[in-house]
Structures are given as C-alpha cells and as structure tokens.
Assembly symmetry: C2
Homo-oligomer: 470 residues x 2
Amino acid sequence: MSCVKDNELDRMRNEVLEITKEILRLVAKRQSLCAEIGKLKQAKGLSIEDPSAERILREAITKEALALGIEKDFAQRLTTQLIEECIKVQPKPPEKKVLTHRDIARMAEALERQGVRVIRMDVGEPDFRAPSVVVERAYQEMKAGRSRYTEPKGKQELRQAIADYVKMRFDADVKADQVIATMGGAFGVYLALASTVSPGDEVIVIDPSWPIYKSCVRYVGGRPIVLETRLEDGWEPNLDELNEKISAATKAIIMNYPSNPTGKALGKKTFKGIVEIAQDRKLTLISDEVYADYNFTGSEHNTVLNYPEVSYVLISSFSKSWGMTGFRVGFVISDLDRANKMAAIQSMLITCIPEFIQYAAIEALKCLDEAKKNSEVMRERAEAVCKALEPLPVSFYKPDGAMYVFPRIDVKGIDGSEFAVKLLENKNVSVAPGGAFGNYFNYFRMSLGQPKEVLVEGVKRIGEFLSTLS
Amino acid sequence: MSCVKDNELDRMRNEVLEITKEILRLVAKRQSLCAEIGKLKQAKGLSIEDPSAERILREAITKEALALGIEKDFAQRLTTQLIEECIKVQPKPPEKKVLTHRDIARMAEALERQGVRVIRMDVGEPDFRAPSVVVERAYQEMKAGRSRYTEPKGKQELRQAIADYVKMRFDADVKADQVIATMGGAFGVYLALASTVSPGDEVIVIDPSWPIYKSCVRYVGGRPIVLETRLEDGWEPNLDELNEKISAATKAIIMNYPSNPTGKALGKKTFKGIVEIAQDRKLTLISDEVYADYNFTGSEHNTVLNYPEVSYVLISSFSKSWGMTGFRVGFVISDLDRANKMAAIQSMLITCIPEFIQYAAIEALKCLDEAKKNSEVMRERAEAVCKALEPLPVSFYKPDGAMYVFPRIDVKGIDGSEFAVKLLENKNVSVAPGGAFGNYFNYFRMSLGQPKEVLVEGVKRIGEFLSTLS
C-alpha cells in the first residue's frame, strides 16, 4: 500500500465531496426558482401541482438519464424528491376540510354514548354475523392448540381451498402458491401497492373511490393520478381518458368493481378494455373485488382472474360475503413472482395471520348458501332504499352490486361534509360525505349495513332534512 | 392573465428543467468517480462501505445545506440516494451465502414430511399453549358477534387493561391513548420504524440481533448502522462505541433486552446509559421487550417505560409470555403524538386487529401465574442446556433471560450455516446459523421452545457432531 495511492483516494473523495456540494448549490437555485414559480401561479390562481408540466419534466429527465448512462428509475426517484421539495416551498391555498366516513362515525358514536339512537349508514360494515360453523371451527382449532406461527402466505390447506373456490366460482385456474391469506382486504391493497410502486411512480385511481387507495399510494411513495367518472355516464370509466392519464411513471391501475361507493359493476366490454390497456401499457392491474358476492344484476361477476395474460393482483376478503369484518381475513392472488414478493413483505410485517382464523376461513368457503343469502338481503335493501329515494331531490345510480348508494344532492350550494354533519345533528342519521371519495362534494354515501326498515326510515329522515334546505 | 406572464412561467419552468439536467450531469460525473474509487479500493483490499468517509461527507453536506438555506433532512436524504447509487456502481466482493433460521426450519419441515423426527431448536416459538381461559374468552366473544371493526388502536378496554398492567408490573405511568394493540411484536417493530425513519435516515442496531430489525430498517428506506457486541465482553454494549456510531443522519436506536439471540439482559447502569445517549443526541429509543417475562436473574426487568423523558417506543407481545404466537397480538406504547401517527398507519394497513382476539388479550393479562410458570420453565431449560453444553468445544454466555442460547463453535474453520445444515442432515437437530444475526458466522442459536429432555438430547447430538469435526 503506497502513500501515493492513499493520497489518490483522498483526492478522489474530496472531488466527490465538491461535486456533491455543487449538486446542493444547484438544488438551492432550483428551489428558489420554484418558490418564484409558486408565487406566480398563486397570482394567476393556478394550482401548485401541475401534472402536465411534471410529465414534460419527467420525460426529459428519462431521456437525459439514458444519454448519461444513469439508471432511469434512479433518475426518476431523484426527480420525485426534487419535485416534492419544490411543492413544499410553494405557497399553499387554504385546505378544504373534507370529512370522511370515519369522522362521521366518531361523531355518531359520541351521540350514541349520550344515549341517542342513530341510524348508522356511515361505515361499510355489514350487520351479518359470521356463520356459526365458522365460529365453531375457529374455537375447535384454538382449543386444539392451533395458535402457532404458520408459513407467511398462510397454510397450504387454506390456499388450496381458495384456489379450488375461485376455480368453482369463476372458472379461474390458480395454483395455491399464487394465493396469500392476508389481514383483510386492506392489507391486500397495501401488499399490492408496496410490491408494485417505487417512490415517484404513478398509480391510476378511478374515482369516486375508497379513500385508502389514494392514501396508500402516497404512503408507499407513489402519486395517485385520478381518473374521474361521472354519474351522468352511469359511472362508466372513459377508456380514452384512462389512456391519456398514463405516463412514463405509471406502474398500476387500481379498480374496484362492484364499486365502493357507487355500486357500479362493469360490463364485460369495459372490463376487458381496461385489461387490454393495462396489458398494452405494461401496467399492473390491481383489482379489488371484495364485493364480488354482492351482485344484483344477475349477470356474471367480471374478475381479473379470467385474464391471466395481464400482470394483476386480485384482492378479496371474507369480511363482506360472510359478515366476517372483525376476523380480519382476506386474500390476494397474483402471478407467482409477485406473490412471493408480497409474502416476503407480509412475513416481515406481520409474520402470518392467526392460525385458527385460517381454519375459520376454510370453513367459510364451504358456506356458499350463506354468502348467497347475504347477497340477496343486500339486493332487497338496495331496492328498498332506491325506491324510498325516488321522490327526493337527489339523483343516483341504482347499484349493480356492493353495499352502497351514492346520491347527488340536487339542492344548490350544498356541501356534502356540512350536509352529513347537520343530518346527523338534526335527524340522527349518519352518512359518509361524498368528498371523502374524490371530487364529489355534493354527494353522500349510504351504507346498507342495517335492516331494510331502518334504512328506509333513514331515507325518510333524509327527505325531511332535505325539504328544510330547498 | 397576460401573455407576458404566461411566457414568464414557461421560461422559468424551462430553467428548472435545465437546472435538473445539470444536476443529473453532475450525478453522472459523481458516479463515474465513485466507480473509480471502487476499483482503487478493490485493488487495496478495502471494503466498499466506508462509514467514516461517509460521515465526513454527511457533515460537510449538513453545513453546506445550512449555508444554502436548504432543509437539513432533505439534504441528507439526497446524500443517501447518492451514496446508495455510488455503492451500486462499485465492484462487489462475492456475497457470502447466509442461511437464516427460516431456511433451516424449511429444511427441517421437509425432513419431517419424510417421517424423520427432528429436534427443533430453530424457530423462536415457545411450545406453551395459550391459557384455556384465553381460548374460552375468545370463543365467547366470537359467539356473541364480537367480530366487528374496532378503533384502529384497539378497544379502549384493552388499552386501559394494558396501561393498568404496565403500572402494576413496572410502575410505569401510561395513559390508554398511548397504547396500540398491534399484530404481534413484529408489526410493532414496523410501526415504530415507519413512524420514525425517513428514507436516508440511519438507525443503530445492536448486534447480534433478530434479522427483522435490519431488514425492516431497510424496508422503510433507512440504513441500519451496526454496533457489534462481543461474547468476550459478556455481550455488553460499549457506550463509547455507541456514541461514535451516531451521525447527523441517525434517528433511532433499536435495542432488544433480554436479547434474541444472546439471552443477555442489561443492568440498570448500561440501560440508563443508553437512554441518556438517546436523549442527548435526540434519538428515539425503540425498545423491544417481548422477552421481559423470561427473566432468570431475579433482578427487575429494565424497561424504557421508566424513562418517559426520552423519546421512545416500547414493543411488547403476548406471544412469548403466554404461548400466544398464533394469536398475533402485541402492543406498542409511546408518547401520544407518535402513538397517533402509528395508529394512522395501522388503520390504513390493517384497520385493526380481530375484535375477539382483543378480548382474549384482556384475559391473558389476568393470567400472571401462567406467565410466571412459563418463565420458570424457560429458566430450567436454559440451566439444563448450559450444563449439557459445558463439556463441548463451544463458548457461550449463560442467558439472563429470553429463550435462547447462542454458543460460539470453538472448532477452527467452521461456518455456522454449513454447521447448521450438516447438523440437521447428520443428527436431525435444527439450530439457527449465527450469521443470520450479524457478523457471527461461527455461532449458532438454540431456541428453548421444547421440553428440557428434548433439548438435552439435542445438545448431546450436537456434541457428537462436533467431535467428528475436530
């Protein structure tokens, strides 16, 4: 080891430091420029985030990275950091306070604690009980000591039972190794995103949508890009608009049909159209089908499982079909590579789901009649609620499935958050404000997790309240 | 809106793009310099990662950021990205294949499927059953329909029971709102790290350690900085070394006493010393105390709960004390702000833990005798195993607690992974290779989750196998 060489290393390290400082100086210059742009945008009433300007920047950076021999993904991650810091230094407009169904639920619970009887249509939780055979099975296994660690994906027996179930139910060919038993559908959404999205990536979310999709995309460092659908179009997504939303940074599309909150189910043509776009543009299609069993149309449920040619993650759950919300058990299915990636994350974060609950899930899969009965009850409720809504000053899509109705309030100047709060205060009826699901501030969501008579009484009170507004 | 102003916006945006490109060019230049440094280091036999050079760089960058008015944390995150890319372009030495306890467990299970009886000392799972009152309570609640969503932190009743428990057990003053019921201790580790670490931050991990700490730090974008402890020092962490490991980028220290895998418990002086360092350097102390109840020393367990003046997260679990691994229930305690942050993450990712399991946990907290009995059994096992190990060519620390013994193999040229595989093949005894826990390749971990006689027979076979090696 010569002294000369040591000096050489020091000299090179020093040069690295100087370059890093120079980068920092450019970053500072970039930021002060961004602050100026922010002021200019504010003066002009433009919004801070500007997806089209960002897209131009991103595409130029990809090109430059290629020319310089820098890894494209690294260049994009770096750009994301710069954009985020840039947004931070720009002046922000006052934020619109949007209440979610959870805020309303908390207010409803506070009223209930005071002894007030509230008609609860806020949270998306069916009132059905788990089948008694499911409860008994969980107990028997627990008593027999089946409360040990299992493999992270879940026991082979459960995964095979799920594979058999989707074969029988959807004629889908799936191997047990492609299946992971997850902590409910929510953790399935997280696993799908965490295994697909790197910081700076974009994910298309079809609005109105369950708020967790967007927050979870942000949580894993991605950016949700919203494709809005409209009541006037029967909540049908426009495939040309979808195509336009996709950029070089897009990695996935999340969709959820039958839809929370609209109750919309997709016809085969549109479903297939989205699959084809995902395939063409090399995106992963994340399909949350937790409401597959609540289908009122009589036609078959369209599932991503029937399109194994596209990169997909199916998300499902035992919560809704079998009234098992508090068991926290669901499943995801995908190609084997991604399943292994998701299993590694599940293994690190939660080890596995409780062993006896895995057996309870096996039992639930045998209770097909119970799921069918629950679906029929939901259909009757939707029917009754829609009929009761008919004379009210609201417009709505009659749900094809799921467990919600999502009416627009046709009274001028009404805000969904304010409406939900006042409705609760004046009529003791709790609904979810539309703004929680996207840019739908004059909408509200009614959850059908109560007996029909209760729901109809709720709608009656909503009608009374609306009549005081117009 | 004047045309001049529009042009102004375009001009500024263009300038931002040009600056970004210039940054990218400097990044490319930096990378090629790093590649050269890598070659030079390789030629000189130096390792690629160089914490001291990195520290000098980081400190210079913090200073420069301050001078430029750039947020310090952002500058550090950016530096981390640059360093990581720099490491990527440097030539790597061939990677040492390290097997973990899970690899060995899989091999053991494969043997078991062939009908071979394996003495299992690989996975850290006690063989105790959950108390029967716990099982019955879970069943009763399940039958009564308590399988619904709860608040994300867990039911008030459970959180109050945990607060009362730590008051009684450790004389710790904690409010129910500071407590979150989590999916086992593992999810607690994740919540602690996810709420503390931003990409590029450093976290001190005291080795040898449970491998999940390092992988989880990396998973949330941080860098684990290892403080090694040594058998020769009785696994006592050196506080001067700890101080030296802390840099401007350090956010937290993770510690786990009684320790998996060494069985070491800290005396009050060292424990307090670490608390003081964390407090001085404004770090969060993440203290995984899942083995608090397996304490063989007769002296009090030292808990971070008794030092509310430091920023902390306590991690605990029902898995070990009450043989409830497969219930997947644990808890974290921290200051209220951080608890709320962790609850928001838990809410998004898993909603809550199963409702009836929350009641089961309440019941477990009443079974103090059962936890004490289990601890006594572990103490006897540790005693017996140590006695049986005595005549073997191994050196080890006699555990103060936890459920492991971590011997060093005093036979030249032996590698822990190879040892574990051959021991399993030749003697049907499964242990965890030391390399999984850090730079301890000639060690192995024995888990005490089996009856004493079985463990002693295992040690006997280990002795036979070792005698064939020397």
